[in-house]
């Protein structure tokens, strides 16, 4: 038992020292002329000496006759205590070791960062600070062990045995600890404000520990985003989400038939397809182009004059990318390529429908012509074939 404690203690403090030593050697030996670095190092060494001294003293006490005497009296309880302490220390040392084994590879990355604190790079600085913190915790644990071992026999003998409650129940009671209503008189303060009196109840433990917890969480939050930069801030987060979306869409498109673009768009003649296009036209396009495509805010779509061309590819592109400087927005974020193809196909059916109150012609006379680029040739050819036959579906 006693040996175990000591080894554990050495395990906790030594790796820290060795890691601190290696990192500063690795990063830069000029640190030894840095005042902050030296101060921190001295503090670490002093604390380490204290840890060793105290743990030796503890070892001596544990092995002394005086203690063995006491142990006999209430062996059981003391054993329990010691076991608890040992358990704590095991967890603690494991934590510290794993923490540093994780931190080590990060060091290489972080060393590049130019952010420095008091002339020391961030990783070294935090290593030193965390080391000091861990040493303080170790010291605290050692001292409390001291206190527990010395006081072990004193208190326990007198207290009567209380039937042990289940853990959850006892935790619940602890967290809700309060003075009973009947004993209220004992904590009634002598305050009296217009007849209002005040009790001196403890802070409800669950509230108090909850408060501590939120403070710790808030601290971790800030460290996470701004010191270790583990989680992305909004700009970075946005870029990541865009990348992911791009990848997802690409993945989907591989298997999807919905993969029309300006190189492959063609006029649809199927009535249901054109009907879907008409539906979108009536809700989305008609405010500007009129119910019958006669044009209001936007240009007339039923005549032979087109500002940006009247072929299926032209119309598809106009809808997809828009002409923002002329007030036609891009619809590619709102409608899928298939839907744009449906709308464009429907618009082609409007030609020559002579709706009431048509807007004056705008743009140039558009005549179906041969394809400008070879890649478009198939699409255009199909245009000229299909366009004449479709009957105007929008009338009325």
């Amino acid at each position: 038992m006693k040996g175990k404690i000591l080894t554990l203690l050495c395990m906790t403090s030594l790796p820290l020292l060795s890691i601190a030593g290696t990192t500063d050697a690795a990063t830069s030996d000029s640190y030894f002329s840095n005042a902050l670095f030296n101060t921190l190092l001295v503090v670490i060494i002093l604390l380490a000496v204290m840890v060793i001294t105290v743990s030796r003293a503890l070892k001596n006490i544990v092995s002394s006759d005086f203690f063995l005497e006491k142990m006999k009296k209430d062996k059981e309880q003391a054993n329990n205590k010691a076991n608890k302490v040992a358990g704590l220390l095991i967890v603690f040392s494991l934590l510290s070791v794993t923490a540093f084994s994780q931190a080590a590879p990060v060091a290489a990355v972080k060393a590049v960062a130019s952010d420095r604190i008091g002339g020391i790079d961030q990783f070294t600085f935090y290593t030193l600070v965390v080391t000091i913190f861990l040493e303080l915790v170790t010291l605290f644990l050692l001292f409390s062990t001291f206190k527990n071992i010395l006081g072990a026999s004193k208190a326990k003998a007198e207290t009567p045995e209380v039937a042990a409650k289940p853990l959850v129940q006892s935790l619940f009671d602890k967290m809700n600890y309060t003075t009973e209503l009947e004993d209220e008189g004992s904590i009634l303060l002598d305050h009296d404000y217009d007849g209002i009196k005040e009790l001196d109840n403890n802070l409800p433990p669950w509230w108090k520990y909850g408060f501590y917890l939120t403070i710790i969480v808030a601290f971790i939050y800030l460290v996470n985003f701004h010191i270790t930069k583990t989680s992305p801030l909004q700009g970075e987060e946005y870029k990541l989400s865009m990348k992911k979306a791009e990848a997802d869409i690409a993945e989907y498109m591989k298997t999807s038939a919905n993969n029309v673009d300006e190189t492959s768009v063609k006029v649809l003649t199927d009535a249901t397809e054109v009907g879907k296009g008409k539906e979108i036209f009536l809700t989305t396009c008609s405010p500007c182009h009129g119910k019958f495509g006669e044009g209001t805010v936007g240009p007339n779509l039923t005549d032979d004059y087109w500002i940006h061309g009247g072929g299926i590819v032209d119309i598809f592109k106009t809808i997809k990318y828009g002409w923002p400087e002329k007030g036609m927005k891009s619809w590619k974020e709102d409608f899928s390529p298939i839907q744009i193809q449906q709308v464009a196909s429907f618009i082609r059916t409007l030609k020559g429908t002579n709706p009431p109150k048509p807007k004056d012609k705008q743009g140039d006379l558009y005549v179906e012509g041969p394809a400008p680029a070879p890649s478009d040739s198939t699409a255009i050819k199909k245009d000229s074939v299909s366009v004449t036959v479709t009957a105007p579906t929008v009338a009325k």
Binding site: H191, I196, P204, S241, Y252, C288
Partner: protein, 712 residues
């Protein structure tokens, strides 16, 4: 020691109680009407004075400053005298305070309806009223401090700590946020611009909730709840800890209203971290209130006053837990700009402020009128109708908020936005109707209360001056036994005030000052130009009509927002925005990038009748913009004011501004003519179109590398 005889002033309490009831009903009525306008836009009546954009600020101001404000003063004037064993310092000051505050409310109501507004939420009132508020607030403070100085009770009770913190902090918030430069008697520009204005405004806005709706009401709770329950306060120590923690931490949380905006990341993170830490201090108040009822829960069953108070404190606990949750970035990404926020604040307003006020009124009025409540049956009915009203109000809006947000964010697998903005609005209608029904119930309850209290008053006999007696404070304080360390400051009102001032200044200073001093917090963009005179006039119309009430101007860095609106907003885009117009709710779509999206004629038609361009839109019509002339005479003063605020117009530009304005207006009129719309270039609609077409255009002209740098 000689016992002194004196009298408590009940008249001032009664007057504030009457005002509370009157403005409560008015504020709720306006709120209900605005809620109905969302369902039936025809209720906007095509009149400038009755549009949603003007009525919503009227509702919020009426409820916060008129209803709750008078409620605070009612409770403070009653409890302060009794907790200090002294009559109010000066009846004359009390009177000035009362009538001054009512004058402010009337002026506010008139000016808001007339469109005189600064365009900053919950601080809409123009500069003459701001000055009046400051003066009246000083009168209130003077009267309160005077009473404290003349007290006959050595120590200050926790309720008074809260009153002091309220007085100090509201003064600081109001003065700092209202710094503005007058252009004319009813028009001013915020001294701050863009990101800075946003930070100051939400530091103010958030802490208006904290120090106008929360701390004074906690003070009232600490007096009226133990009184009504006849029980000692649960824990004196809890009072101390939660009071100081609350006022220190609250001040920091303002930036949580600006998450994912162009506000620097570090300020946002501080806002989140401090909001999380705020849970326990807020709950401290709730716990101390509810545990005070330990041993008195049997009374709660029978006593309607306690019933109201229990629900109030519970609602407070729910709202103050929800608040920090809404401050967490991933939750805020869903909730912000939706009706979730509206539901959240109404749990606080209807539950906490409303119900506590009702409880206090039911307790106070019979006491001051030396009678019993006219009908406890009616009061019970009020309680149940009101509670049901809150639930029916909040639940549909929570549902609507989450649903709309998720619709905004939804993409098809091909990568297109699944819903047009308008689709998501029309889906809201049943929920808006549900909310209006909840509001109707709540208002009905309040009307029942007013009837009940009027009947009580009629049957009672008012005691204007209540006799009391107490020994004066003589000599230095001698403690009996050992005192808690905090007792020292409870004896020292001046030190108390100074310490609370220091405590509340820390957070605000750390968050706001650096954005003024450190340039890297707001990287400038070379292509962002000041507004042309016509655009500036248009912007003032935008502010006047309260467009910011329903439209944000802040594209957040989310995929769905950049797909819907365009590149996300950068801090440097807003450097000439006095005031900023980021908004806090999207009943309509964001407008930060609307410039160039539609032709001029689209905007003309849309303002005349939104449904012509967007079938199903619930936006009000603005026919008067087509008729009314631009106030050209104000242009010189406006340009000069902007120059004094540091907007870089060339020297002497104010003299040629009118000519520039004419030129741009004619251009727009010509554009409209091309689409068959005849309009004179001097109409307000032309200025409005100019402003809308300017929005978000400058950054598009910025060099690519510059934008790329900002995106990092």
């Amino acid at each position: 020691m000689e016992i002194e005889k004196f009298q408590y002033d009940n008249k001032i309490v009664r007057n504030f109680a009457y005002a509370t009831m009157l403005w409560g009903i008015v504020g709720m009525l306006v709120g209900l009407f605005a809620a109905l306008q969302l369902v039936w836009p025809v209720l906007n009546f095509e009149l400038p004075y009755t549009t949603f954009g003007r009525l919503r600020p009227l509702h919020t101001n009426a409820v916060i400053f008129a209803f709750v404000g008078n409620g605070i003063f009612m409770g403070v004037y009653y409890s302060l005298q009794r907790l200090l064993k002294a009559r109010m310092f000066s009846d004359f000051l009390s009177k000035i305070h009362f009538w001054g505050w009512q004058l402010i409310i009337v002026l506010a109501a008139v000016t808001l309806v007339l469109g005189k507004t600064t365009g900053k939420e919950y601080a809409e009132l123009e500069w003459p009223i701001d000055i009046l508020i400051t003066l009246i607030w000083v009168v209130f403070g003077w009267n309160m401090i005077g009473t404290i100085v003349r007290r006959r009770e050595r120590h200050l009770y926790v309720a008074i700590w809260f009153y002091i913190a309220t007085f100090v902090t509201v003064a600081v918030l109001h003065i700092v946020n209202s710094v503005e430069i007058p252009v004319s008697f009813w028009k001013s520009y915020s001294w701050y611009a863009g990101v800075q204005d946003a930070l100051v405004q939400w530091w103010y806005g958030h802490n208006a909730v904290a120090f106008f709706l929360t701390t004074p009401y906690l003070g009232l709770m600490y007096y009226f709840m133990p009184k009504a329950a006849n029980r000692p306060v649960y824990s004196y120590r809890l009072s101390i800890i939660h009071f100081w923690a609350l006022i220190f931490l609250y001040i920091w949380a303002g930036p949580h209203h600006l998450l994912y905006t162009a506000v620097p990341d570090w300020a946002q993170s501080l806002g989140v971290a401090f909001s999380i830490m705020l849970i326990a201090p807020s709950w401290g108040g709730m716990i101390n209130g509810l545990l005070t009822l330990r041993g008195a829960w049997d009374k709660v069953r029978d006593d309607v006053v306690l019933k109201f108070m229990v629900v109030a404190v519970t609602a407070y606990g729910m709202a103050t837990f929800e608040g920090p949750m809404l401050s967490i970035k991933s939750v805020n990404a869903i909730s912000h700009f939706t009706d979730w926020t509206i539901a959240h604040v109404h749990v606080g307003a209807l539950g906490w402020n409303g119900f506590l006020t009702f409880g206090i009124l039911y307790w106070l009025i019979p006491r001051m009128f030396r009678t019993k409540l006219y009908s406890s049956k009616l009061a019970n009915m009020h309680f149940w109708i009101g509670t049901l009203g809150i639930i029916l109000y909040a639940v549909p809006l929570y549902w609507a908020g989450v649903m709309q947000s998720l619709m905004w964010k939804e993409f098809t697998p091909e990568g297109q936005l699944k819903w047009q903005f308008l689709d998501t609005v029309t889906k809201m209608m049943p929920y808006y109707l549900g909310r209006a029904i909840g509001g109707t119930l709540y208002l009905t309850g309040a009307l029942i209360m007013v009837f009940n209290l009027i009947k009580t008053i009629k049957q009672g006999d008012f005691l204007a001056n209540e006799d009391a007696e107490a020994a004066p404070l003589v000599g230095a304080y001698k403690a009996h036994g050992t005192d808690h360390w905090h007792r020292w400051i409870e004896r020292k009102p001046v030190q108390f005030m100074v310490l609370s001032l220091v405590v509340i200044l820390i957070g605000g200073a750390i968050e706001i000052v650096p954005t003024f001093l450190i340039k890297s917090n707001i990287p400038t963009i070379s292509s962002v130009k000041p507004y042309t005179p016509l655009e500036l006039q248009g912007r003032d119309i935008y502010v006047r009509e309260g467009c910011y009430v329903c439209h944000s101007q802040m594209v957040r860095p989310f995929r769905n927002e950049t797909a819907r609106y365009g590149e996300y907003s950068k801090a440097g885009e807003f450097v000439y925005d006095h005031p900023f117009q980021w908004g806090s709710k999207r009943t309509g779509p964001d407008l930060a990038r609307v410039g160039g999206k539609y032709p001029d004629s689209w905007h003309y038609n849309h303002m005349m009748d939104p449904t012509s361009m967007s079938p199903g839109s619930i936006m009000p019509t603005y026919p008067w913009l087509l008729e009314d002339q631009i106030d050209v005479s104000s242009t010189v003063a406006k340009i000069k004011a902007m120059q004094r605020l540091g907007v870089p117009y060339p020297e002497g530009y104010s003299q040629i501004a009118a000519a520039d304005m004419q030129k741009q207006a004619e251009q727009i009129a010509a554009n409209l003519k091309k689409d068959g719309i005849e309009t004179l270039p001097d109409r307000e609609i032309v200025a409005m179109i100019a402003y809308l077409q300017k929005l978000g255009r400058d950054i598009k002209a910025a060099p690519k590398e510059e934008v790329a740098k900002l995106t990092n």
